[in-house]
């Protein structure tokens, strides 16, 4: 079953073609990563599918319904975690439910449960500034999970983290997502991260972003760090890297 259908989506900013025309399908429960050179419109594509921006042309349908603004069943994880520094970790996780009008006792119970999922139970009463960057991102993931989403959009959620933390966080996300049955659109600039996590990797061109290649990653789940050394993974990494390098050079005006 196709879950997300984006057809010929175009976005321009003040006469500059930023994105598309681009078409992207995501099947139910599929984990799709989008990689591309910086400035290619990855985040714009994510925000359009998230209902935060309207496309200038083309259409997006999710679950058979045309998209008109943000949906309750879509959760977004932003690059800079978007935690609210004046709230405790627990209240941060409960925020999405609070916005929906869920009563306090009920939303705190769900928040505690999700906080346990990401292993931060001991930090419920802390404030975000007292946590490390990786822990803050886990708070954001826990918050995204509270509303039982059928689609998670992640915009370089681990982009600001160091390499080791990023890999650990990727596995953590994979573990969480495997148990749910939601589709994931994952924007990243890390090719290894994309191969490690995804069922499919979509490679985008330099601005205006179009799809250059759509690479299925046929690796069994659950995956461990060793999958990166399998032939399927190394071939995929090589193929993506070759495409990206040319596009990045184009984007920077080096050729």
């Amino acid at each position: 079953m196709t879950h997300v259908v984006a057809r010929d989506v175009v976005r321009t900013f003040g006469g500059v073609d930023a994105l598309g025309p681009i078409s992207l399908d995501i099947r139910e429960g599929e984990f799709v990563s989008v990689v591309g050179p910086s400035g290619c419109g990855k985040s714009t594509l994510m925000e359009i599918i998230g209902g935060l921006q309207d496309p200038d042309a083309g259409s997006v349908a999710i679950g058979g319904t045309d998209l008109a603004g943000p949906r309750d069943e879509t959760s977004i994880v932003f690059q800079d975690s978007a935690t609210l520094p004046w709230r405790t970790v627990l209240d941060n996780v409960a925020f999405a439910l609070e916005a929906k009008g869920v009563p306090r006792a009920a939303r705190l119970e769900i928040a505690r449960e999700r906080l346990a999922t990401v292993g931060l139970t001991d930090f419920a009463a802390h404030y975000p500034t007292q946590l490390s960057g990786g822990m803050r991102q886990r708070v954001a993931i826990a918050r995204a999970l509270t509303t039982d989403p059928d689609l998670i959009l992640a915009d370089e959620p681990f982009g600001a983290l160091d390499e080791q933390t990023r890999l650990l966080m990727s596995f953590e996300l994979l573990r969480v997502v495997e148990r749910l049955s939601c589709s994931v659109l994952f924007i990243t600039h890390s090719i290894q991260e994309a191969v490690l996590l995804s069922n499919r990797v979509v490679v985008m061109s330099a601005r205006p972003g179009r799809i250059l290649d759509d690479i299925p990653i046929d690796l069994p789940l659950p995956r461990g760090l060793d999958v990166l050394t399998t032939p399927v993974a190394t071939e995929a990494v090589g193929r993506i890297w070759a495409l990206i390098r040319r596009e990045a050079q184009l984007a920077m005006g080096l050729t």
Partner: protein, 279 residues
């Protein structure tokens, strides 16, 4: 042995091996902490004034000993007439001015934040606002409204509101982009956004603005009372000054200092407890 000590002595000039910028700052100077020095400086001023005036170096038409000021101030605050006529009216006016300026300031800032057009139109005026001596319109207001609390309130509110507006706007602007997007993704309405995002995010800046607003309210009320009024602490000081009641004048000034200090320490304590940036 002797040789070794000599070698040590020649190597000694570098007294510290840790660079100066890494050395911890001394916690005490001459055996006193910074707060002890604060008290000591105050005491020094008081003792100097006391000796200078007691020795008759300055005529008692200009200066009276601080002890005399304090005694007179103490007798003033137990004097029912002074309390009813001067101290309480001033404190009440300051309270009302502060409340009105605070609410009006935050409301105006929200309005300007909601409408970019209004904001761009108003911004140049806000920028030059404190260059205009607002007290100059006070006499005109006295002609319009008569001598009483109304013109004082108008001028003081006009004086105190704008600083709340500018600080609140700074706070509203400080909401990070990802948080704005999060709120949009979660479909927060205008009211929810104000309550759950805008006000808490801006709270530290709003509190800073309100603290300044309180100071401006004190200045506004006392200064207008000083210019023209029939009641109030400002009026009391001006009256004492014009009739050569030097001790009364200094007692009034001392009371203003005490009132301002108490309000300032109080507002700092409240702000410190509500400000999430200081947690």
């Amino acid at each position: 042995m002797v040789l070794m000590t000599a070698a040590r002595a020649t190597a000694a000039p570098r007294r510290y091996r840790i660079p100066r910028y890494l050395r911890p700052r001394p916690r005490t100077v001459l055996g006193m902490t910074s707060s002890a020095w604060t008290v000591a400086l105050g005491l020094l001023c008081v003792v100097t004034l006391e000796t200078v005036s007691r020795a008759g170096l300055i005529s008692d038409l200009y200066l009276v000993p601080p002890s005399t000021m304090a005694t007179r101030a103490a007798s003033l605050v137990t004097d029912g007439g002074f309390l009813r006529q001067d101290l309480l009216p001033s404190v009440a006016l300051i309270a009302v001015t502060f409340a009105v300026a605070g609410l009006l300031g935050i409301a105006t800032a929200y309005l300007l934040w909601r409408s970019d057009w209004c904001r761009r139109a108003a911004l140049p005026w806000l920028a030059v606002y404190y260059a205009i001596p607002v007290f100059a319109i006070y006499p005109c207001l006295v002609v319009l409204f008569g001598v009483g609390p109304v013109p004082i309130l108008v001028v003081s509110v006009a004086f105190g509101t704008v600083v709340v507006v500018t600080n609140t706007l700074t706070g509203f602007d400080s909401v990070p982009q990802p948080v704005v997007k999060l709120a949009r993704a979660r479909r927060l309405g205008a009211g929810q956004y104000l309550r759950r995002i805008l006000l808490p995010a801006a709270a530290p800046d709003i509190l800073a603005g309100l603290r300044l607003g309180l100071v401006y309210s004190i200045i506004g009320v006392l200064a207008t009372e000083f210019i023209l009024s029939t009641h109030g602490l400002g009026h009391y000081i001006a009256d004492a000054y014009h009739t050569f009641r030097v001790t009364d004048m200094y007692a009034g000034i001392l009371l203003i200092c005490v009132v301002a200090l108490v309000l300032n320490v109080g507002s700092a304590t409240v702000a410190g407890r509500l400000d999430w940036r200081r947690r």
